[in-house]
């Protein structure tokens, strides 16, 4: 029989047993839909993490000295800034202090002591006023830039710029307000207060430094520059590589992607279990179908059907059921994704996953349909004709 006629025959048989075919498909539909939905959620989570990491820009290198008795001096930071391919350095220090204005006070607010490059390196925008300048740093001025949440807490709706507040009892002038950014890299910048790096001495800090961001001129040379910075730190501070870390943003992204692909794979694995169950359903129904249609198989053989014709007939039927289930499952999975998105969770369906799901459903039909189809084709025509 011609292949196209075999396909038509399969569709006819599926239509003739709508209920049974539908229930069989359901197994595949649930399997494929959950693969699409879970992988989509996995990818959505991955890309939201990735976008928060890369919001800082790929041209950033993070330097941290973890040793308690070693840190970079001001001059060493300046020297680091003069290294090849380094555009700017932004040392920062996180201090915890009480911020108050009038009767309102916040206990243990995070205060970041920064230089003039910090805001631009971190892509943080100002809503009003100005940022920390050279002059502020030189003079160790008691000025501050306030995060949007903290501004609302202390000043409610009034414009904080030009007003004053107190940090641990010392008076500071607000020179700028940050635009709302949400938390980034584990720092909730919206409820933070930024002061000049040099001003931190008033809060009991020295000018030594153990955390800084380095902005690169050419992001493609990140690896070489990381090595250069590492060498500089090791030479000047005489500490082992366990005591400091120099991480480029791109290597961080790579690490995140690694975690995410593992996560996606795990989700796909879980969903695959339901696909296997669906496949067993296909096999079960095809076996029932073969025994129900034993007589038909006998008649077909008496009319000249070859083994191959019978084999193909049942195999195509199994594949068509699975593929139809797969297509419906893909649509249901995408629909589930839209629903999930409405709940605010990221969802990202890729063409690859859809293609893989489609091919998988066809493969399930082939794999789980081949045993029943073989059984049908191997039936002896007399036995088959004799059956009721």
């Amino acid at each position: 029989m011609k292949f196209i006629e075999s396909i038509k025959l399969a569709f006819r048989n599926i239509r003739a047993n709508k209920m049974r075919s539908g229930l069989t498909m359901l197994g595949i539909i649930i399997g494929i839909a959950s693969v699409i939905a879970l992988v989509g959620v996995g990818n959505g989570a991955a890309s939201s993490v990735k976008s928060s990491v890369s919001s800082m820009g790929t041209d950033i290198v993070t330097v941290k000295i973890q040793s308690d008795d070693a840190s970079l001096s001001e001059d060493q930071v300046t020297a680091l800034g003069a290294l090849d391919n380094v555009a700017a350095v932004a040392p920062y220090k996180s201090i915890s202090a009480t911020v108050s204005r009038g009767d309102t006070s916040t206990s243990r607010s995070t205060i970041l002591a920064i230089n003039q490059s910090y805001l631009s390196i971190n892509n943080v925008e100002l809503a009003s006023g100005r940022g920390i300048s050279f002059v502020d740093l030189d003079n160790a001025s008691k000025v501050c830039v306030i995060g949007s949440d903290l501004a609302t807490t202390l000043f409610s709706l009034a414009d904080p710029v030009g007003q004053s507040l107190k940090i641990d009892g010392d008076q500071y002038t607000v020179i700028g307000v940050l635009a709302e950014t949400g938390s980034s890299m584990g720092v909730d910048i919206d409820s933070t207060l930024l002061i000049p790096y040099s001003t931190a001495v008033y809060l009991g800090e020295d000018t030594s430094n153990s955390s800084l961001y380095v902005q690169l001129t050419d992001a493609t040379q990140a690896d070489a520059t990381v090595t250069r910075i590492e060498n500089y730190i090791r030479m000047t501070l005489q500490i082992s590589s366990d005591d400091y870390s120099v991480t480029s943003q791109s290597s961080m992204i790579a690490a995140m992607e690694d975690i995410n692909s593992t996560l996606s794979l795990m989700l796909a694995g879980i969903a695959s279990i339901s696909l296997v169950v669906g496949g067993i359903g296909v096999m079960n129904v095809m076996l029932v179908s073969v025994s129900e249609r034993t007589r038909e198989i006998g008649v077909r053989k008496s009319l000249g059907a070859r083994r191959r014709d019978i084999l193909l007939q049942f195999l195509i039927e199994a594949v068509v059921i699975s593929v139809l289930g797969g297509i419906i499952g893909i649509l249901m999975g995408l629909f589930a994704g839209i629903v999930i998105q409405n709940f605010g969770t990221g969802f990202e369906a890729s063409g690859d996953v859809i293609l893989i799901a489609f091919v998988t459903s066809a493969a399930i039909g082939l794999i789980f349909g081949s045993f029943p189809a073989y059984r049908a084709s191997a039936l002896s025509p007399i036995e088959a004709l004799r059956s009721e």
């Binding site: 029989m1 196209i4 009319l303 070859r306 083994r307 004709l385």
Partner: protein
């Protein structure tokens, strides 16, 4: 009858079935020739081996001993696929219980053997319609078997058997499931086909049915015991 007009030639054929402890000789050294255009009846009670005879002649089963030449070809030498091709092209089965495919229309049932020849559906439908016309069912092509009477179903089965222009029609109790009148009509149809040159072998336990044939062979306990030759009045 000349040697080269012989279509079916069974030569000393035996078939043994193992039934538990017992061995049953369903066919015991049977030799039998059927020439082109002949109308032969194999008459015998149930269990006489006539179904086994039909299965062997129809290539649904193979003999344990002896030779079966169909159109001069020893069927034992043929592969599975070649045997299927011969069932398709050279043999037309008519069964007692019609054996139509219930979810297909009359036309589609007749199309089935044509499609196994590799014909596409359009051409198969054209040819199937011709044969349904021939059995006077041209107006019922779209009916399902369940919407047809027994006699009409058997006509569909005959059309299906004829569709591939077979060498021989093998009819196994063709009237067994029909009433007297309808059965007689079906036998009239077979008579007519034979007059047109169609080789027919009827297997039956009913002597009245066997009398339609020009030659009757009696089957008993696996032996073909006697042959009557008579002219149809």
């Amino acid at each position: 009858m000349s040697e080269n007009s012989v279509t079916i030639s069974l030569q000393d054929v035996s078939k043994v079935y193992q039934m538990g402890e017992e061995q049953i000789r369903a066919l015991d050294h049977v030799s039998f020739d059927v020439a082109k255009g002949e109308y032969v009846a194999i008459e015998g009670p149930s269990g006489s081996g006539k179904s086994t005879f039909m299965n062997l002649v129809g290539l649904l089963d193979v003999c344990d001993d002896g030779r079966y030449l169909l159109d001069g070809v020893d069927v034992a030498t043929l592969s599975d696929d070649q045997q299927a091709a011969i069932r398709n092209k050279k043999i037309g089965f008519i069964f007692q219980n019609f054996n139509l495919l219930n979810k297909m229309t009359a036309l589609e049932n007749v199309e089935v053997p044509l499609m196994y020849q590799g014909m596409d559906e359009k051409r198969a439908a054209q040819q199937a319609a011709v044969y349904l016309d021939k059995v006077e069912l041209g107006s019922r092509t779209d009916h399902l078997p369940t919407q047809l009477s027994g006699g009409q179903q058997q006509r569909v089965a005959i059309a299906r058997a004829l569709a591939c222009q077979p060498e021989v029609i093998l009819a196994d109790e063709p009237t067994g499931a029909l009433d007297q009148k309808t059965g007689s009509d079906i036998m009239d149809l077979l008579d007519r086909l034979n007059h047109e040159g169609q080789t027919i072998i009827v297997i039956t336990h009913d002597h009245k049915v066997a009398l339609r044939a020009r030659r009757i062979a009696h089957m008993m306990d696996g032996h073909l015991t006697m042959e009557d030759r008579h002219e149809i009045h």
